[in-house]
Structure formats: structure tokens, C-alpha cells
């Protein structure tokens, strides 16, 4: 057979659009695309007509107008003369702040509880189970409200810290003379530097050079510590004996930043009662505290489950094998169990971070002015720009979420176990 004659080229028939695998998917996609576009066009058209009927336009110009309202917790300069855009930034930073601190605390709680739940101690195990079940099965909103209620209903007013003019004794006293938990806020000392380096203008906001210096010192310490560790590993590789590094680690990780702090004349400014309220320190509002604690405790319960499952997923065989080789429990944990458990734990952990960030929008329940409270709340209401505000707010939340899950994907790809 010299040449198998190819089948004569089939002429195109209309039915092939439906029945030929090559064209079929195209047909379906075109059909779906048209449906989608029609739907989108319908929505947009409705929106335009509705806006026209209401005499409104679609315009983000309001972001540059004066906001006029005050925000008590602000991480960047803001007064009621600032613009709505700036108020949005303040709200966004508040969201990020509570989300970040929440993730931090939730992780600590979750890891602690997760490990304790695995402990052989019956009592502790039961307590931790109770905690986890309680928090997981009751709506977050209830926890936020309850914790807020504990703060406002069960703590003294700032006035209670004032000495009675007759007896000279206050009915409440501050913890260590530094911290006062009141029904409005928790007053804590304010870190200040007597030898200030000044402020750096970053356009959108200013940053304190002292803080930068301390962070730089911490990073430097961390980096040096890594060098020390690497050196220890080198020595170990060469001689088999690993030199003790805990003291140098301590010195570098803690000592260095402390030295810089001292050098900058770091001290605490203690809050004192003046007029109606404590001044001098930092007043962390109860709405923030309640939101933060509730988010941390709630998410912590989920993280505890993740941690527990992660450790349990590393089969008993792994630690037995390590024991059988003569490795001690501590080393087994750090060399064998943790590196594996982390791979299992981190992806769901990050999606919990994502949930926490999204749940921080429940700030609305306690009047914490986050992104939803400023942009999606007061600004929306004062300007009447529902469409713009809600869309912008969604866009920002979406961006945050995508950034977090993007980070997760990168991590997943980098630690994936090699398989056949």
C-alpha cells in the first residue's frame, strides 16, 4: 500500500455545529457567550435606565469631596476636613489592622488549642473540645456582640478610676499602673521615643522613622540569626557536633531590637485620667477589642481543628520510625513531624485567614469603622452613591482575597511533595 487515500474532505454541514466534537464545543461556547453578554447588557442597560430615572450618574468624583465626619480610630492623619477617599483609606487600614492582628492571635490560639487537644491530659482535652465546639457552632455575630457586651457591661467606666474626693481612694485601680480596661476602651501605655528621628513623608501618609529603625533592627537580628544558624549547620556538617545557638539567637532576636530601642530613648507614656477620659496612652476602643477577640477566638477554633488534623495526618508511623532511629521527641517534632504537618496545615490555614478578613466586615455590629463602616456606611449614606460605594468596596475586598489566595497558591506549588 503506497498511499492510503485520505477520506475526501468532508464538506461543512450545519449539523456539524451540533454533532461534531470539533465544532460542538465552539458552538456551545459561542451560545453561552452570547447569553452571558446578553445578560450583562441587560443588567447594564437596566442600571443605566434606572440611574437616568433617578437623575443620578455613575461618578467617583465624590471621593475627593470633604467627608465631614470624624473617625475615632485612625492609623493615618485624618480629620473631618479630609476627603471621602481618605476616609476610605482610614477604613481600609482599620480593616487590615483588625484582620492582621486577628490572624496573628487566631494562629496562636489555634495552634495552642490544637496541640492541647491532642494532649493525653483528659481534662485539658475536654476543655479544648468544648471551646472548639462552642465557637464553631454559634454564629460569629453572637460572639462579637457578647464580647462587646462583656466589655461595655462588665467593666468599669473611666470615672471609677478617679479617686473619691473624700476618701482619696478610687473604686478601681489600673493594672500595673499602666493598663486600664474600661467600658469604652482599654487604655494602654503609648510607646514614645525621646530621641526622635522624625517622620518620613510617603505621599499618602507619614511613617515614623523610629519605628522603621526598630523594625530594621529586628529584621537585621533575624537575618544575623539565620547566619548563625547556618554557621552552626556548617560546623555540624563538618564535625558532627552542633554548637549551641540559643543564647546568640536570643541576643540577636531580642537583644538587638532592644538595644536600638534604648538607643532611641524608648519609653512608655502611661495613660492618666484627665477630664472625662484617660489621656497620654493609647485608648484601644472596645469595638476594636471585641471584634478582634471575637474574630480570633472564632477563627482560632477552626484553626485548632486544622492543626489537629494536620498533625494527625502525619501517620503514627512517621514518629515511630523516627523514634526507632533513636531521635528524641523534640527533634522528631522539628525534623520530621512539623515540616510535614505544615504542608497539610498551611493551605486551609490561609483560607481561614481569608475568612477572617472577610468576616471583619461584621465590624458593623459594634460600630468599628472599617472599610464597610466608612466607604460602605457613612460615605455611602452622606453621598447617596450606593452603586459606586458598594462596587468599590467589593472590588477592594476581592483584591485582598485574591492577593491572599495568590500567596497560598505560590506556597502550595513550592512545597508540593514529589510524587511519581
Amino acid at each position: 500500500m503506497a498511499n492510503v487515500p485520505d477520506a475526501p474532505k468532508e464538506s461543512f454541514r450545519l449539523s456539524m455545529l451540533l454533532y461534531d466534537t470539533r465544532y460542538r464545543s465552539l458552538t456551545i461556547q459561542v451560545f453561552v457567550f452570547m447569553l452571558f453578554m446578553a445578560g450583562a447588557a441587560w443588567l447594564v442597560d437596566n442600571t443605566i435606565r434606572n440611574l437616568a430615572a433617578l437623575g443620578k450618574d455613575f461618578n467617583f468624583g465624590f471621593l475627593w469631596n470633604r467627608a465631614g465626619y470624624d473617625i475615632s480610630q485612625r492609623l493615618v492623619e485624618y480629620t473631618n476636613d479630609s476627603s471621602h477617599g481618605r476616609a476610605m483609606l482610614v477604613g481600609l487600614l482599620n480593616t487590615l489592622l483588625v484582620a492582621f492582628l486577628g490572624c496573628l492571635a487566631a494562629t496562636v490560639i489555634g495552634v495552642l488549642v490544637g496541640v492541647l487537644r491532642l494532649s493525653k491530659n483528659w481534662l485539658v482535652g475536654r476543655l479544648m473540645t468544648a471551646y472548639v465546639e462552642l465557637f464553631r457552632n454559634i454564629p460569629l455575630l453572637l460572639w462579637i456582640i457578647l464580647i462587646y457586651a462583656v466589655f461595655t457591661e462588665a467593666t468599669p467606666a473611666p470615672n471609677a478610676f478617679r479617686p473619691n474626693p473624700e476618701t482619696g481612694i478610687a473604686s478601681q485601680s489600673m493594672f500595673l499602673d499602666a493598663i486600664a480596661v474600661t467600658n469604652r476602651y482599654t487604655a494602654v501605655p503609648n510607646p514614645v521615643f525621646s530621641r526622635e528621628l522624625g517622620w518620613l513623608n510617603l505621599g499618602l501618609f507619614y511613617v515614623n522613622l523610629d519605628v522603621i529603625a526598630v523594625i530594621a533592627a529586628a529584621v537585621l537580628g533575624w537575618w544575623l540569626n539565620r547566619m548563625v544558624k547556618a554557621r552552626a549547620t556548617r560546623i555540624q556538617n563538618a564535625t558532627g557536633i552542633r554548637p549551641a545557638t540559643w543564647w546568640s539567637s536570643l541576643l540577636l532576636l531580642v537583644g538587638l531590637p532592644v538595644a536600638v530601642l534604648l538607643g532611641l530613648g524608648f519609653h512608655l507614656e502611661y495613660p492618666g485620667l484627665k477630664g472625662f477620659n484617660f489621656v497620654g496612652g493609647i485608648n484601644v476602643s472596645n469595638s476594636f477589642m471585641a471584634l478582634w477577640l471575637a474574630l480570633s477566638l472564632y477563627t482560632g477554633a477552626f484553626i485548632a481543628e486544622i492543626v489537629r488534623a494536620g498533625i494527625m495526618a502525619i501517620s503514627r508511623g512517621q514518629s515511630e520510625a523516627a523514634f526507632a532511629l533513636g531521635l528524641r521527641p523534640g527533634r522528631t517534632m522539628s525534623l520530621v513531624i512539623l515540616p510535614q504537618a505544615l504542608r497539610v496545615i498551611i493551605p486551609p490555614l490561609i483560607s481561614q485567614y481569608l475568612n477572617l478578613t472577610k468576616n471583619s466586615s461584621l465590624a458593623i455590629a459594634v460600630g468599628y469603622l472599617d472599610l464597610r463602616g466608612t466607604l460602605g456606611g457613612i460615605t455611602l449614606n452622606q453621598t447617596g452613591r450606593e452603586l459606586e460605594c458598594v462596587l468599590l468596596m467589593m472590588l477592594i475586598y476581592l483584591t485582598i482575597s485574591l492577593l491572599i489566595s495568590g500567596a497560598m497558591n505560590v506556597y502550595n506549588a513550592s512545597v508540593k511533595l514529589k510524587e511519581r
Binding site: Q29, N46, N121, W122, L123, L134, I138, E386, Y397, S401
Partner: protein, 444 residues
Amino acid sequence: MSDTPAQTVPFVRDTMLPPAPPPASQAGALRWLRENLLSGPLNIALTLLGIGAVWYLLQGIVPWLAHSVWSADNLTQCRQIITDRWGEGATGACWAVIRERWTQFLFGFYPQHLYWRPTLAFALLFVALAPVLFARVPKKLLWFSVAYPFVAFWLLWGGSLFLPLTVAAGFGLGWAAFALLHRFGTIPAVAAAVLLPVLWWLLFAGDLSRDLTGLVGREVPFWLEQVRSDKFGGFVLAITIGVAGIALSLPLGIMLALGRQSDMFLIKTLAVSFIEFIRGVPLITLLFTASLLLNYFLPPGTTFDIILRVIIMVTLFAAAYIAEVIRGGLAALPRGQYEAADALGLDYWKAQRLIILPQALKISIPGIVSTFIGMFKDTTLVVFVGLLDPLKGITDAVRASTDWKGIYWEPYIFVGAIFFIFNFAMSRYSMHLERRLKTDHRQE
């Protein structure tokens, strides 16, 4: 040197040893204590800490609970009773508020003489769920499951029987169109099955149901007393939204999951974008969209019920999560199942409907239950769009009355306890399912 040293005498046991009881250290309460509470210094410290924590908590709560008052007309009276009984300065729980208002927590402002309707709807829910959850229930009951949404709607909102009937007829129409057109190919059949009911609902359903209602009048078998959405509240509202959300999000979630698995670029992209978008924004913003923006997106002049709008948004929200759950279920199926279906000549839809989805859904039930738990908890957020959810909406309403102004913990504890019981039961059930699926997913 011998290969076997002399010492290894061949050995045979003539009489088997009976099991002996374990030594004292291995049994009894002592061992339990030693092993579970006091093994090692760390454990002892933990035990002490644990006892401390429990003690601290109980100390705060027990006296308060012990001083419970179950009957009083208002808060002042209640406080007075506590002072009278347990002395000046004693604090106690005023459960009287729950005793007086518990129906509101459960039913919101639903008319009292109609309480039987949501109750019946709730009871029927279990009947409708039975064929899904228990394999042994006769499959005929599935027809009831299909009819249940319409029955429940009618029971809850009342009004004319013909409204749910005509809506259901739309689905019937779609199904009939699909069955009739199927021989001409799947795509036209699907298109017809979607378009026909939509046309029916938009053009005929409303008038027909009105005419029929006019015809037979407002008599009992065709008409139930109407209950407006603003009367809904409390757990009736939460369960209505939760169940409707899950039920509606299932088909949507399945479509999304299949879309995400599709190898058609556009469809996959659309599915992924939708899922990621919904999962990337807080539910609150979606609820705000429902209450603030939906009217912008609909033709001028359309208004519809806020509960319905919330259900739509919650459905979209849950669908994205359900889609991910089902995707997991689909991924867990061995490729062989797809291939066997192909090899038998089943087309894509038949293979999905008869082979793939029944299995994938079954694997996904635990995930669906957890999604439901999450959603049930999230129904409390509807308070922010002005609905009377049990947690904040109703408690605020109760507290707004002069009688109970100032009461705080009791309503929250009550609502929290109910949520806990519901969710804990469901999560235990789903764990049980998970275990069962693990062992007998290949056997029934």
C-alpha cells in the same frame, strides 16, 4: 561452631496460658488518673491550670444561673424578685423574658394562630429529606421531596394555592420540553427547557394563577391566610433562608462545578470567575447588594420581596461554596467511572446524571452539611438589611419594649443555645456520615 547453638532447645508449649488480669498499675481508676491527668510534670501543671479555668468559669456562672427567675412581668419586677430571694446585691438570670417571648424568638411576628404552619413545614422538611439521607426509605418519597419546596412556600406565605402550582407547572413544562425535544439533540432540548418555563413564568403564570384564584374564591383548600414577609422573623426566618438557600444553591452549585471541570475555556473561565468573585467578597456586601443595588440591576419598576432578594444572594453565595464541595466529590471519583459510562454509549448529560453526579453528590454530603451549617450561622447577618433575625433583630425588638429594656445576656444565651444545638447536631451527623462513607462508600 554449629549453625544452631546448643542453647536453642526446641520448645513446644503444651498448655496455653490463660489471659491474666493486668497489674494494678494497668487498671482501675488509679491508672486512669495517672495516665490521663497526672503523667509527668507538664501534665500535672496542665491539669491544675484546667481545674483553675473551670473553677473560675463556674464561679462566675453558677451563682448567676442558680438565681434564675422564671416568671416575672418585666425586668424591674424580675430584679426585685432576685433581691428579695437572694438578698441585696445578688445577681441572677431573668429567664422570664424567654418564657414570655420565646414564641417571638422562634416565629418572629408570625401570626400566633398560624404557628402550626411553619411548624408543619419544618416537620415536613424531615420527611422530604428522608429519601436523601436514608437509603432504606422507599424511593417513591422522592416525589414528595420534589414537591416539598412548593408545599413549604405555600404553608409559610399562604395565599392562593395556584401561585406555587403555576410556578411548579413551569418546571413541569421545562421537563416536558426537554423530554420531547431530546431526540433532536441535547442542546436544543436544554435551550427549550430553560426558555419555555421562563416565558411561562413571565407571561402566563401570574395571570393564570390570579384567574384561577378568582374562579374558586378564597376557600380553604385553595387559599391559606396570607402572611407577609415582614412578619417573618426569628428561627423561622433563619431556617427558611438557610434551607431555601441550600436547596436552590445545589443545582446552581452543580452547574458551576461541572463548568469548572469543563474543558471549554469560556465556560471554565466564567465558572471560575463567578466562584472566585463570590468567595472573595464578604457576605455582608452581597446582602447590601441585595437590599441596595438589586433594584438598579432590574428593569425599572420591578420590586420584589426582600426575603426573596436575600434568598437569591444567599443562594449565589452558597452556590460558590457548594460548587467547590462538589468539585471535590467529582475529583474523588475514579476516571474509570467516566470511561465506563462513555464506553456504554451514554452521552455527557446522561453520564453525569446517571453515573457521576449520584456518586459525587453522595461523597459530598458531609461537605454540603458543613456548608449548610455555615450558611445557617450566616443567616444572622440578614439583620443588617433590616430583617428580624433571631440573634439581633428579635433581641433588639424584645429589648426595645419598655418591659425588658436593659436585659442583655439571657436572650443571647437562649438564641446561642438553640444555634448550638442545631449546628452541633448537624456537625455530628455529618461526621457520622463521613465515617460511614469512608467505610462503605462502595457498599450500601
